[in-house]
Each structure stands twice: as structure tokens, then as C-alpha cells.
């Protein structure tokens, strides 16, 4: 465990965590000894970053070890009072969410009637999506119903978001309500 502490300490310094936290982390280990022990390990000199598991709602702490632009190791965060270093099968293998060859790495477009994906640039995607959204929205927009403002479109839906961060869900809700979307749903319902 000691090598983890060393790396976590480095992280906490970088992230500007409070002195109080540092003091707790620093208790009880010899830095030189740790260096000697970790020299040959894959995770030696890896950067360690705390995260929270992406799967269920328990919210276990995980430490992500990164080196040379890849994720070399993940493990339970011993400091987390939720899981105290333990993880289940999914949390344990979370490294493969990054390393899996199945990950999408480019924006893909499928044209009407087409059998295949085409690679496109982000700019093209954003511009085309904005055009489609505006076209549908403008054509289906209802400003008033029975004399009252209703400012909505019932032709666009938004689904999903339970895996997003809070800040992302906030912006998504703001965007969709801002566009007048009423078909706004996510996994809490299903």
C-alpha cells in the first residue's frame, strides 16, 4: 500500500488539497524506503488520481494510475470511507473502460438509407446537429396554447444522463428546457 500513499501525496499536492488532508496522508511512512520498494513496479512513478466508480450508486473511491499516456492500473481507494480500498468485479476492471479496443475514438455519421458509418469532424457534426435541431424546433415550436405561454416543442426528445457528472446533468437540463424540450427523460424512470 505504501507506494500508493506516496503517489497520492504527490497528487494531493498538485491538486491543491488542504493541509489537513495532507497531514493525514503523510502519517506513518518512510519516503526513501518507499522509493526503493517501488522502483521496479509497473506503477512506480505513475501518477495517481482519485476518482469515484462509474458503475452502481455505492460510490466507491478508486485510484487511477496513469503513465506514458495510458492507464496502467486501477485499485480501490483505501481512504474512502465508503469502500475502504475494496472493490467489486466491475470496479476492479474499470481500467478496461479506457483500454478496450471497442471505445469510440472518432465522431461517426450515418446518412439516411446508408449501410455504414462515415468518419466526420467535430465541427461538421456540431454544425449539422445544430442545423437539424433548429430546423425541427422552429417548425414544431408552439409559443402559446389557449392564450398562455407554453414555449415548447414536442418533436424533440432527450434521453439519458445517469452516468453524467452533476455539472453535466445541470447543463443538459438547462439546454433542453432552454430549447423548449418537454420529452426529457433518463434512466431514473427505467
Amino acid at each position: 500500500m505504501v507506494e500508493i500513499n506516496l503517489n497520492r501525496r504527490q497528487f494531493l499536492k498538485l491538486s491543491g488539497a488542504t493541509a489537513a488532508t495532507l497531514a493525514i496522508v503523510e502519517l506513518g511512512f518512510n519516503e526513501k524506503e518507499v522509493h526503493a520498494k517501488t522502483k521496479e513496479l509497473k506503477i512506480a512513478k505513475a501518477t495517481v488520481t482519485p476518482t469515484i466508480c462509474a458503475f452502481c450508486g455505492v460510490g466507491c473511491g478508486i485510484l487511477v494510475h496513469t503513465k506514458n499516456d495510458t492507464v496502467v492500473y486501477t485499485e480501490g481507494d483505501p481512504d474512502s470511507p465508503v469502500n475502504e480500498g475494496t472493490l467489486c468485479s466491475k470496479g476492479t476492471t474499470i481500467r478496461q473502460v479506457y483500454t478496450s479496443e471497442k471505445r469510440l475514438t472518432k465522431p461517426l455519421y450515418r446518412a439516411p438509407g446508408s449501410k455504414k458509418w462515415e468518419e466526420k469532424s467535430w465541427d461538421w457534426m456540431y454544425e449539422t446537429i445544430a442545423k437539424r435541431t433548429k430546423e425541427t424546433r422552429d417548425r414544431t415550436f408552439v409559443e402559446k396554447e389557449n392564450g398562455m405561454f407554453v414555449n415548447k416543442t414536442e418533436a424533440i426528445a432527450s434521453l439519458g444522463g445517469a452516468a453524467l457528472d452533476n455539472e453535466e446533468t445541470y447543463l443538459l437540463a438547462k439546454m433542453m428546457r432552454g430549447l423548449g424540450v418537454v420529452y426529457l427523460e433518463h434512466q431514473a424512470r427505467i
Partner: protein, 787 residues
């Protein structure tokens, strides 16, 4: 959760029903194990003998869809055996309220039922009030129209023999469960109820949870350490995404969405109709106006009702099932999907896939190519040349390739720091959303149509770059005093005059001053009771145990030393203890309202009788939409208040053709629709095949052996899978009739490393009467050998 994960160690008895934490929330179980080490008991109630059951002290089986019968019997047991916490019930619940004479219950129907509309007139269930509008009480609880007496009468019908004839539970097991859990009614004891989708995914899902609420109030378990009602949430931030209003009926912080009814035409009208006279929700106008200020910024002024008219106002139920029904009928043109896969996870998934081809365009933001974004492919059984949907698939970054906070089941808002840059060209959803808004803003900039006006009013300032400044988003969520520009320290400071902003009032205070985003707190010292007040931030106000005023008696002393959370300190004249009081800290027990712990509710008392739900003030047993038996409790077969979509979108199976009860569940190695796990090598290898679990008795009857290929059919479709013949399912005997049940994981689809048929091709498009959550957990099917 009213309580939190590490608090589970404080329980004397955990009743786990409609959930399987040992497999689906595995790390939560270590806290239950700790409780066991201290002498606590675990009770598992489930149609299947799960890994949770294998660790339980008591296990009882029940047929899927009979939870209210099961819990109704327990309510009756507690009342008859006098195992309730009487003082708690008399002081902290609405047991003493009198209900008006209009209230009636006959043969499965409450008063006020409109058969044609399948709706109740809830005014028929009102409380009797005095001239000032306060509820009339009988503290002796003996008045025949007191809530207590009505409750007793209602559940007297749920005697043990009637209950087990419906649930199929062996009598001995049923009595053991009741005895064990009701023993937590003694002061000094606490019991928790833990549930998940096995409880909510029913046409009576909300009332299932209500039944938990009633028993927990009767036993005095709310507000106590090791007590409460604890929903185990299945996704890392489904708590947060709900808090932030990604549902048609909610804005942020559980403020209801305004609708196209005349009363909601103006902000004043909305406030009048939706703001209760008492309880903390009486502050609702402050939450709403502060939200409007966060969303519309300088475009929200007193003169334009703070932009209230910009909020979209719908006139129907837009929930998941209805959304797909509208899509199926061709009423929707475009859809945005953020990390969601309804072709595997939606009910009646075959129909949901068909519906997608009616879209003109779809934007899917995901880490993977899912069964949903690929619905048009030949591999999906589609003819691409006949599908005109344009699909934009945008690669998203994973959770540790970006930074931000998530809220777990315990309501703990914890920060995830960025470990590595997004893979390939993938981007954080935060940036994708931001850039879509920026492009749309550019298109609308010079327009003044009503549509443009609404969108141009949205205040969107998160820095100049393509990647928004997340710190600015976090601060906006917390909110500001707009007169000074300072961050707000508490939602208690919110105002309804436009001088404060807050993107989500329940989170207001998590970022109280410069440099202090409390979701980043990492001090893991136990501050007492296992509450870890300096680790992360729990909404609201960093409270860890909700309703904790109820952990003390009316005079302010803890009911017992072992279960103390907060107590009244007469010298300091305030509430003190191991947690942030979920109560006004300076209101003394002798002050008005000083003994009313449920602060959100008008009157502050726990609702044994709840005249607010769509399907009745007390939970009543009805059979699932598809059931193998007649309802033994009344002549109402199914929940009389559910909305039924007729026709091809929701075909209903007959028990003669489909005599077997089917249910779905998850396994440890996969997650939800499987896209996050079936695209990983190790997990795919660990759990690589779709299977149907069945009893030895059923297998014998059908000539099926373990590992045989079998076909499961329902009125909606057929799927193929391996047979898993186990002792974990047992047929239920119901009044001499044998009813079989099978279960299956719902993780599989045709993409990824581990593939298999999709269980949700079998499930129906029918929802709960209050939430419209689909009834995945009890449907009818049949099985046969594939060869």
C-alpha cells in the same frame, strides 16, 4: 437513501426486499457484514434465493408482484402483536389526524373513483380541519375516523393466511420475517429497509415504497442510525441526474415542472397552486425564482416574472413509455441520447427499436457503439435501405478522463478528478453539451421568432474556450447573492425577489466560499456514528441521516443512548450531536413545531395516510398487469389508476398461453444494458452468456436440462437463451395451484464481446400509477426447448 452506506453497520435488522446488494451493490454489503458482526440480522425477501439471501439470517420467497400483500401482512402483524413504537406513532406521525367522512374503501376501490378516466378524485380523502385550517386530531388514536383506526381496519384484511395464499411464501418463513423485523419497534432498536428496482418496477411501485414507509413509521425507524428507507441506486449518478431534473416532471431540486394548465400561466399562479402553507416546501417560490435567475441570468427580471414564461409547459405525461409511444406513432423527429441504450434497457425493447426508425435524426453520445445507435444495421435485424434516420454518434470521454462530481445513493456528492486526457478524439459530455449550445446560439443570434426568444434568453457563460470552465458551472449550481456577488452559504438565504440565484437549491451550500468546493473534501476521520461529515458533501446541508430529529423523543432526548444522532442541549439552546440537525437548530422541543420531525411535510408529521398519490391513501394489493392468478383481495384485478396504452404497442399476454411469471435482474459482472461491461474483455469472459434461471420442478415438467438452449416467449416476442436449472427458484403454491417463476439477466444485446438475446423484448409497456416506471419485474411468459 434517507441514511447512508456506512450507517448500515448500525442496524439491528436489515430487511432487503426488491434488491440484491450482495451482487448488484457488492461493496454496500461489507457494512451489512459489519452489522452482522455486531449482532444485527439480515432478512432477504426475494422470488429467487440470491447471494444476498445466502448471507441472510432469514429468507422468504414471494411471487413477483405481491410485495404489498407481503408488507400489508407485516403492518397487520405489528399492529396485532402490539410491536409498534407507540409514542413515536402518536407524536411523529399523522396517526391522530381525522379523515373526513367522504373517505371509503370498498372491494379494492377507494372513494372518488372515476372508472372511465381510471382516476381518483383525491379530495375525497381529505383530512378534517378546524376553522383555521389545522387538522383535527385525536391523540388517543381511538376515533373510528382517525388515521390509526383506518389503517388498522384496512390491514386487518391482510391476515397471515390470506397473505401467504397470494405471495406463496411458506408460512413459517413469513412469520419469521415479521417477527424479526417488527422486533425493531422497541425503543433502542433500529431496522432499515433496503430496496432497488425489484420494488419500483411494478404497476404498484410507488405504493410498494409507501408500504415500507408505513411500517418504518409504525416501528419508529425513521431518523435513526441503522434505520430509514434506503433506495439502492443502480448508476453512479442516477441520484444526481434526478436531483438535477432530467425528468419531464421535475425541474432541479424536486421543484415540479410547470404545465399548460391555466393556474400555471403565471409565476404567481404557479406559486399559489404549488406552494403548501406549511413545511419547508413553503419556500418553493425562493427555489424556483433562484433557479430562473441561474438559467436566464439578466434576462430574468421582476417585470418578466423572472423569465417564468420561457419555461416549456407541457400538457401530458411525457415519460419514457409515452415518449416511445409518440416515437412509434411518428410524432417525434429528433432525439438526443446521452449514454443510454433503450434497445436493450427499455421495456418491450423490440417495439422501442422499431420506433427509432421513425426519427429523422438521432444524436447519440456514448463511449461505445450500442445496440441503440446501431439500430439501423443488418446486424440488428434491420434493412438499412428502408431506414432514413440520420445518426450522429459522438464519442464521449469516460468518467476518469474528465473532472466533475457525482452523487451516490447516500446523497454524497463526491469529486472525480481527471486522471488522463479523453481517449482518441472523444470529449467530455460537458464540452459536447456546451459546444452544441454555442453552435445553436450562433444560429439564433440575429433572430427574433418566439423560438429564438426563448433560447436567446438562456444565460450561457462558462468561459471563452471550447471546454467550459467547470468551476463556473459548480458555482452557478451553488448560487450567488446577486447583490454582493458572493457565493451563498446556505439555501436558507435564498430569496424570491431575484436577488439570489441557485441552479439547484438542494445543493446550495456545497460551495460556500472561494476555493471551497466541498464535494472535494477528503478528510476520512469518523466524526461520530460513522457519519464522516468531512468526507464529500451530502445534500441537503451536509446532513447524513434525514429526519434525524426523530431519533430523539419529544422532549429532545435520544430514544436510547445507542441510537443517538442529535439531541437538544438546554444550555446551548440548540440541537447538537453526530450529524447536522435535519431541523431548525434553535427550535426547542417545547417551541411550536418542536416535535414535528418531518420538516418537508406541512404539519411535520410522517404520513401513515397519504392523500396525495394517484392510487390511494393506503397501499392496496392488486395483481400485476399480467398475472397468473385472480386478485384474492378484491375484484379489482390490476391497479385501477394505471394508464393503459391499448393496441400493438402494448400487447397483453393471457395466463392460459403464458402461465409462467417472468422477472429480470442483474449480475455482478455486468452493468445495466451491458454497454459498459460487455465491451470489456475480462467481464465479458466472466459472464458471457444469456441464460434463463428456473426451478428443477419446472425444468422437469418441460423436459429441459441444464445448459439446454431454450426459447422464452411472451405476448411481445421471443428470445433464445441457455437454461440454468437451479434450486434458487421454487414454484409457489397458491391455494393448491402451482405457479412457476423464471428469472433472467437483462444485460445482453448483439454488440460487444459478450452477446446474447435481450430480455426486455419480453417485458410490457405498462407503468406505475404515479411514476410510470415500467413493470419489468412481473410479466407472463412461457418456455420451451429450442430443438
Amino acid at each position: 437513501m434517507t441514511n447512508h452506506w456506512s450507517d448500515l453497520q448500525n442496524t439491528d435488522c436489515a430487511l432487503i426486499m426488491g434488491g440484491n446488494p450482495a451482487e448488484n451493490h457488492p461493496i454496500s454489503f461489507r457494512w451489512l457484514t459489519k452489522a452482522k458482526e455486531k449482532g444485527g440480522k439480515i432478512v432477504s425477501v426475494d422470488p429467487r434465493f440470491t447471494r444476498t439471501s445466502s448471507k441472510a439470517d432469514v429468507y422468504a420467497s414471494l411471487r413477483s408482484g405481491t410485495d404489498i400483500a407481503f408488507m400489508g401482512g407485516m403492518i397487520n402483524y405489528a399492529l396485532e402483536k402490539n410491536m409498534i413504537h407507540k409514542e413515536y406513532v402518536a407524536e411523529y406521525t399523522n396517526a391522530s389526524y381525522l379523515v373526513k367522512e367522504d373517505y371509503e374503501f370498498n372491494d379494492g376501490l377507494f372513494s372518488g373513483y372515476d372508472k372511465a378516466a381510471r382516476k381518483y378524485d383525491k379530495t375525497k380523502w381529505a383530512f378534517e380541519t378546524d376553522e383555521e385550517g389545522n387538522p383535527v386530531k385525536d391523540k388517543t388514536l381511538s376515533h373510528p375516523r382517525s388515521v390509526f383506526q383506518l389503517l388498522k381496519k384496512h390491514y386487518s384484511r391482510y391476515d397471515v393466511d390470506s397473505v401467504i395464499a397470494v405471495t406463496g411464501t411458506p408460512k413459517e418463513d413469513y412469520l419469521k420475517v415479521c417477527e424479526e423485523f417488527c422486533s425493531t419497534g422497541k425503543p433502542g432498536k433500529s431496522g432499515t429497509i433496503m430496496y432497488a428496482m425489484g420494488t419500483t418496477q411494478h404497476t404498484v411501485g410507488t405504493q410498494n415504497v409507501r408500504a415500507f414507509g408505513i411500517i418504518q413509521l409504525l416501528l419508529g425507524n425513521m431518523g435513526l442510525p441503522g434505520g430509514g428507507i434506503n433506495a439502492m441506486r443502480g448508476e453512479s449518478n442516477v441520484q444526481g441526474s434526478t436531483d438535477f431534473g432530467l425528468l419531464y416532471h421535475l425541474l432541479t431540486g424536486y421543484v415540479g415542472t410547470p404545465t399548460a394548465i391555466p393556474e400555471h400561466a403565471t409565476l404567481d399562479g404557479y406559486n399559489k397552486k404549488e406552494t403548501p402553507a406549511g413545511g419547508y416546501w413553503s419556500n418553493k417560490p425562493k427555489f424556483l425564482v433562484s433557479l430562473l435567475k441561474a438559467w436566464y441570468g439578466p434576462n430574468a427580471t421582476k417585470d418578466n416574472e423572472f423569465g417564468y414564461h420561457f419555461l416549456p409547459k407541457g400538457n401530458k405525461n411525457y415519460s419514457h413509455i409515452n415518449l416511445f409511444n409518440a416515437m412509434y406513432k411518428g410524432e417525434l423527429e429528433g432525439a438526443f441520447l446521452f449514454g443510454t441504450n433503450p434497445v436493450v434497457g427499455g421495456p418491450n425493447a423490440g417495439k422501442e427499436k422499431e420506433a427509432l426508425s421513425n426519427l429523422k435524426w438521432m444524436v447519440a453520445v456514448d463511449l461505445w457503439e450500442t445496440e441503440t445507435s446501431a439500430f439501423w444495421q443488418e446486424e440488428a435485424g434491420s434493412d438499412p435501405s428502408k431506414i432514413d434516420t440520420e445518426v450522429f454518434l459522438l464519442p464521449a470521454a469516460s468518467s476518469y478522463e474528465k473532472e466533475g462530481s457525482v452523487s451516490n445513493s447516500s446523497r454524497w456528492m463526491q469529486y472525480r478528478w481527471k486522471a488522463i486526457d479523453p481517449k482518441g478524439e472523444s470529449l467530455a459530455d460537458l464540452e459536447i453539451i456546451h459546444m452544441m449550445v454555442k453552435h445553436l446560439k450562433a444560429l439564433y443570434k440575429n433572430e427574433s421568432s418566439p423560438a429564438a426568444k426563448q433560447f436567446n434568453a438562456v444565460d450561457w457563460n462558462y468561459g471563452g474556450g471550447d471546454h467550459p470552465d467547470i468551476d463556473l458551472v459548480a458555482r452557478e449550481i451553488n448560487g450567488y447573492d446577486l447583490t454582493t456577488g458572493q457565493l451563498l452559504k446556505t439555501f436558507g438565504d435564498l430569496k424570491d425577489d431575484g436577488t439570489t440565484s441557485s441552479g439547484n437549491w438542494i445543493y446550495c451550500g456545497f460551495y460556500p466560499e472561494e476555493g471551497m468546493n466541498r464535494s472535494k473534501n477528503r478528510d476520512n476521520k469518523d466524526t461520530g456514528g460513522g457519519n464522516f461529515l468531512n468526507w464529500a458533501y451530502a445534500w441537503p446541508a451536509n446532513r447524513r441521516i434525514l429526519y434525524n430529529r426523530a431519533s430523539a423523543d419529544p422532549s429532545g432526548k435520544p430514544w436510547s443512548k445507542d441510537k443517538a444522532v442529535i439531541w437538544w442541549d438546554g444550555i446551548q439552546q440548540k440541537w447538537v450531536g453526530n450529524d447536522i440537525p435535519d431541523f431548525k437548530p434553535t427550535v426547542a422541543p417545547a417551541d411550536p413545531g418542536g416535535t414535528a420531525p418531518f420538516i418537508m411535510i406541512n404539519g411535520g408529521l410522517g404520513g401513515l395516510f397519504a392523500p396525495t398519490l394517484n392510487d390511494g391513501p393506503f397501499p392496496e394489493h392488486y395483481e400485476p398487469f399480467e398475472s397468473p392468478v385472480k386478485n384474492a383481495f378484491s375484484s379489482q384485478e390490476i391497479n385501477p389508476a394505471i394508464a393503459i396504452i391499448e393496441g400493438e404497442f402494448n400487447l397483453k399476454g393471457d395466463s392460459k398461453k403464458y402461465p409462467i411469471v417472468g422477472t429480470t435482474y442483474r449480475v455482478s459482472e455486468h452493468w445495466q444494458s451491458g454497454s459498459m461491461t460487455r465491451n470489456q474483455e475480462w467481464l465479458s469472459e466472466l459472464a458471457g452468456h444469456m441464460y434463463i434461471e428456473m426451478s428443477e420442478e419446472l425444468a422437469k415438467e418441460k423436459g429441459i436440462k441444464n445448459k439446454d438452449q431454450i426459447i422464452v416467449s411472451s405476448a411481445r416476442g421471443e428470445i433464445k437463451a441457455y437454461a440454468m436449472v437451479t434450486k434458487r427458484f421454487k414454484p409457489h403454491m397458491m391455494k393448491g395451484k402451482m405457479v412457476h417463476q423464471v428469472g433472467m439477466p437483462w444485460h445482453f444485446g448483439y454488440k460487444g464481446y459478450a452477446t446474447g438475446d435481450t430480455a426486455n423484448r419480453l417485458t410490457p409497456h405498462i407503468g406505475d400509477a404515479n411514476t410510470t416506471i415500467p413493470e419489468y419485474k412481473a410479466f407472463l411468459c412461457d418456455i420451451r426447448r429450442a430443438d
